[in-house]
Symmetry: C2
């Protein structure tokens, strides 16, 4: 394995002024693993999360309190959470409804994420529920969370295109984002669930949200790299002022219910680009790289991160 240091390449800021630092929201233990066919043991998940925290990841989404029959990979989230909650990183968990919220709270979680689909088709296909029903569940969870002092992030899926419905109207994204804010959810993550976004679309969506009064600082971009567009989209987002980006070590995962949703943006590739731009992430690229190689080995699959592949050469 070649380390980034051995490669001898410049680590200097080459676009000073774009941003000093960004926050990477690491999703490999949740969005990454949930789509993997190999069932991963709780002890291995804990090891993954510990490695990520040791590499400097500031936020790690560690599990999901969804129905075990629908997402068996996440059935042990209580057990995993119990062993990682004291790590020096935020460890949010995904929660679909009040039942999931209660399980998350019982496990000790005080940092959660809820989710809605912008399109009706994906809501029914992915969640087995209409958008209206999902919205009701998110309102209930958020009310409870607010009363309990629990931090809430809101995911919006299918923001940039949908395999069933094609083009997604920006106005609908704005409407749902404002609805989430009215329920008390300030932090929003815009998901390109099937990876079809291009940079102008990212720019237009962020601008439309900002023009409607939503602070850009409250927005995250959750890009999938299915069509190789994720980093160009992140770059456009950076230029629009976005400072939070979701990614998964090694590029693991995808979405089990969306056709062609192979692969989150690899954290390795994101950190490489940000480092080149002179933007701090707090993540050690070499420790991350080792973790990604280890994870690919655990999953017995080739790594999809371009940086990890190139460095392993």
């Amino acid at each position: 394995m070649t380390t980034t240091r051995e490669l001898g390449l410049p680590a200097v800021a080459d676009q000073p002024g774009l941003a000093d630092a960004v926050e990477i929201w690491e999703v490999s233990p949740r969005d990454g693993l949930q789509a993997e066919p190999t069932l991963v043991a709780a002890t291995t998940k804990v090891e993954l999360i510990r490695r990520l925290a040791a590499a400097g990841a500031p936020v790690i989404e560690v599990g999901s309190f969804v129905r075990a029959d629908r997402v068996p990979q996440m059935a042990d989230s209580s057990e995993v959470f119990a062993q990682v909650k004291s790590l020096p990183a935020r460890t949010p968990v995904l929660v679909p409804n009040v039942r999931g919220y209660e399980l998350a709270r019982a496990a000790g979680a005080d940092d959660i994420a809820v989710f809605l689909s912008v399109t009706e088709s994906f809501s029914r296909e992915n969640l087995g529920a209409s958008r209206e029903r999902m919205e009701g569940a998110v309102v209930q969870v958020t009310e409870r969370a607010k009363a309990d002092g629990v931090r809430v992030r809101g995911y919006l899926s299918m923001v940039f295109g949908d395999p069933w419905e094609g083009e997604v109207a920006v106005g609908e994204v704005v409407r749902l984002a404002q609805a989430m804010r009215s329920w008390g959810i300030e932090d929003l993550s815009l998901g390109d669930t099937i990876g079809v976004a291009t940079p102008g679309q990212v720019r237009a969506s962020v601008r439309a949200l900002a023009a409607d009064g939503i602070p850009v600082a409250s927005l995250a971009l959750h890009m999938h790299d299915t069509y190789g567009m994720a980093l160009a989209n992140v770059y456009a987002g950076l230029e629009e002022g976005v400072r939070i980006f979701d990614a998964a070590a090694g590029g693991t995962g995808g979405c089990p219910f969306a056709r062609s949703a192979t692969g989150n943006l690899a954290t390795d590739d994101l950190v490489w680009m940000l480092t080149g731009l002179g933007i701090r992430t707090g993540i050690d690229p070499d420790a991350l790289h080792e973790t990604s190689l280890w994870l690919a080995d655990v999953l017995r699959k080739p790594i999809t991160s371009r940086v990890a592949k190139a460095l392993a050469y």
Copy 2:
């Protein structure tokens, strides 16, 4: 195979005003194939070039008149050129020195590309010649070409980083670019031969050249996707006004003498992003996609284009 049309995704301009159209300089028959271990027959190369032209590629670099003992894959460039020179596309060929120039002319070429490395190490490792000697050869070839009315492009390799020397000084890039211009070479292609550039660096280099009086319209970007940065770099280049981009169908190739130089930017991925941005290329994405799948089959290797992989899913 899924076509882009079947996918039902928006083909509308989502960043109007960035650019109306760009020119893609297709390099798969030359930069792509020269690095492939499988020796490809001349008839197959001709088939590749015909397919690319039929897909709408405006410029196709079809061969290279270098030493056959160093690059055996290109030994049949005269034969290939004879069969493609009447296609409705520009068909430039690569020429390292006067000997190569004479062979290219004998084959009927009137559109050539010459090349220099920004770094001494890569010049010696890649070309077996010092930069000084290479510069002498390029001056000689360009003098002959000017006298013969032959069009000349100048490639600069290792513009953004070098595996032996690390960081590359922008001042050295500007010096060489100006030298090429003083010899009569107006069209310049900036090569990220090992794929290590990040967008701020691309931006800074283009700006440094423009600040020294070199028209941005005369610049092309030749990005390799080794670290997955190519499209983000293209996007930054677009924002700086660059309108010519090199790419290889399916992401074939690399560079046989540079460590980690796996993979040109895939034309498929470039066309996808540009189409999403509402920028015309003249290339039919589905015809290109079919060509890339066919080429991967010929080479018996997995395709590296993310778009081609996702559409083939």
